[in-house]
Symmetry: C2
Subunit: 430 residues, 2 copies
């Protein structure tokens, strides 16, 4: 096949099997967010480039899918959603009670080197609370992040939330008489302290007149926890979620716009990048609206690629996905037409069952009995419904147990078949 | 606000209220497709431009969001999904039983003049059956299209399927000794015959040596129906779906790659463009794979923009959407904290209820009782759950009836509250 007939590097085709994992994530994200009272929004995939240059700069702006459209506009495939959200929330905030609890599931695009855990497009689960500056908001959002992980089948053995507050470092900067620019530099150094060799950190700290030990001492001293961090911990303790939480001041997050509490979720083995992260951005909406709208905010995001790898590494999470997959098999009943003359009656029956909400498949054209049963098995349907010469009597065949029973013509078929499905089987059912 | 701080022309922000309609369409599309045994796939939003030039040409290729990426590749935001589907199906067909019954819901991009019913991005519901050339396949897909409309609340009073077959015109061409090129020209003329003034059609037909009346006579003569059309009608009759169907040979669809049966769905007032359309493309996969894979196929697509307008015009469809919206209100129970000291207990309770699958909202920080009730009403929650000084006794308050009752501390709360929700309320429940 020609090279042009491939996906672009870093872009993914989702065949039906791959799409199941995507849909499982979407459904789980949506279910947990909805339980927390969040409502869904969406913003365009293509935006004016200025929206991103204004906001973040730095690394992100070198990774843009940026071009001029047919109207000569400078446009960009969104690398993230927060800037668009800030616009939308500023425009619509008066129509909703505050705080806004909003979530989004959609694709983002970054021109990075494709590698394990890194693609050029990815789906992101974005959750934000806008309009409330309190640590109670931070706690609500962190609880949502934790419950998202639990709903995916992860336990406190598998992951932890590393919680921090940039304001603690602001205090450190005050104590060491660093100005704002020096604080920004300090945060960048702290952000890399785990990955950098000690001597690299020492070198970076020289211009600030600081030693690495001062940082590690600061990080390990619980008395440096901010009031916000204490309040968040108490709040999560009340929810019985403490065991997932670990205060760790070495977490500061890369993006410049974070203003206070930040957190990241890691697998406990730390073999992967952070699987989710977020923080407070109390000034972003104000900056983007030139001061017209002031909306303190807290958000977090989780991408589908890293969490997908994490699920594959964790037996409990795989089990949960597999059980979802079984429930979402492509078919409830496979109708086997064993008497071709009865096809019109079969079509009427199929129509009736589908209208009753059942998921029905069948051979579109004349097919041998055995072949029909074989195809039925590949759909993972638990049952076949056989239409034979005795129609309107039917035969219900359990495809795994290979047992079968006749169904009397006077049966209320839809109800009867629904009770046969031992578990709720709606494709969109939790 | 600066112009740069708007969406691009023809692109939409979906605030939570607008997003409900989008999600309603997605959920309905997915539910009906799944009932028909279709499985979901997805392909990239960005593709090599060649994929589209190879396939369609013409109008579509003038409407592309096309650019060079950072790796100097000629890339395009997909204007449609069928070309990508053909690639994916060709690559993966061996992993699935045939015919493939696949659907997709995703965004497409076309640089058109924004106007009513036309945006530069739109969501499309794509359904295709690949690997079976029979009219039974066509019928299955048309039945799915009809049931999608019915599931959205439209009746035979509101819409009709106009069914046709390009092969009927091939026969006409044979009778009038037209070559292939002339047949292509003829199809273009037929495609516009409804909208063009008679004299315009006459003018266009001149080079072919034909009169308009020959076309209209041909269209109105039932004996010109192809065997495929007769078989499809019999099949849909067996499903009791005849009343939605109308054979109309003036339908030929614009795209060059259709090879046989084609159809479009129209509102009966015909005040809108076609709300959906599709047809057979038996040679496309073979063309795109340079003959390596032969997969006869039939597909149809429905966009969110036109169907959204159609829903707004149709009382029955609006009612159905509104009832869905009510069921998908953002909250099942709003927890009112009437005794601030009990907040930690409230948080534990909220956590328990959410873990039980209920959708719970509450005021994140200390808020006056009346204000809490007012916010509860805006969430459309049917009930408030009041935590007062008598905790662990709770009060359940019906927010519309304004009645209330105490809940005894020993109650199995999650079960009790679930039975209180008279309708199934899961956010993802049909």
């Amino acid at each position: 096949m020609a090279a042009s007939f491939q996906t672009l590097p870093g872009f993914r085709d989702f065949d039906p099997r791959a799409c199941q994992m995507r849909n499982y994530l979407f459904e789980t994200w949506r279910r947990v967010a909805t339980r927390y009272g969040f409502v869904e929004y969406e913003t365009p995939l293509l935006e004016a480039t200025e929206l991103y240059l204004k906001k973040s700069g730095g690394e992100l702006s070198s990774q843009l899918f940026r071009f001029r459209d047919q109207g000569d506009r400078d446009v960009t495939l969104r690398p993230e959603v927060t800037a668009s959200l800030a616009r939308l929330a500023a425009a619509k905030q008066r129509d909703y009670p505050k705080p806004l609890k909003w979530f989004e599931i959609g694709q983002c695009f970054r021109y990075e080197k494709p590698q394990k855990g890194r693609t050029r497009e990815f789906y992101q689960f974005n959750t934000d609370i806008l309009g409330d500056p309190s640590p109670a908001t931070d706690a609500e959002l962190i609880a949502l992040a934790i419950d998202t992980m639990r709903e995916l089948g992860f336990t406190s053995e598998d992951f932890k939330v590393r919680l921090s507050d940039r304001n603690a470092w602001a205090k450190f900067a005050e104590q060491h008489e660093l100005d704002e620019e020096q604080l920004a530099l300090l945060l960048q150094i702290v952000d890399k302290i785990e990955r950098d060799a000690p001597e690299v950190t020492e070198g970076k700290l020289e211009p600030l007149g600081l030693k690495r030990e001062q940082l590690t001492d600061f990080i390990s001293d619980p008395s440096n926890e901010s009031d916000a961090l204490r309040e968040i911990q108490a709040n999560l303790k009340a929810r019985n979620l403490s065991k997932y939480l670990e205060v760790d001041l070495s977490i500061v997050r890369g993006l410049a716009y974070y203003t206070g509490v930040v957190f990241e979720i890691f697998d406990k083995k730390q073999s992967l990048r952070a699987v989710a992260g977020g923080g407070r951005y109390d000034t972003l909406v104000s900056t983007l609206t030139n001061g017209k709208t002031d909306l303190p905010a807290m958000g977090f995001a989780m991408g589908d690629v890293v969490i997908g790898l994490f699920i594959e590494e964790c037996a409990g999470a795989i089990r949960k996905f597999e059980s979802w997959r079984q429930r979402n098999a492509s078919c409830d009943f496979y109708v086997v037409i064993d008497e071709e003359e009865k096809r019109p009656e079969a079509l009427a029956l199929i129509q009736e069952l589908r209208e009753g909400g059942l998921r029905i498949d069948y051979a579109l054209t004349k097919t041998k009995f055995d072949k029909q049963l074989k195809t039925a098995a590949t759909t993972l349907a638990p049952y076949a419904l056989v239409i034979g010469p005795n129609f309107p009597e039917l035969t219900l065949r359990n495809l795994s147990a290979r047992a079968q029973e006749p169904i009397h013509p006077n049966t209320d078929l839809v109800s009867f078949l629904k009770t046969k499905l031992s578990n709720p089987q709606g494709p969109l059912l939790a």
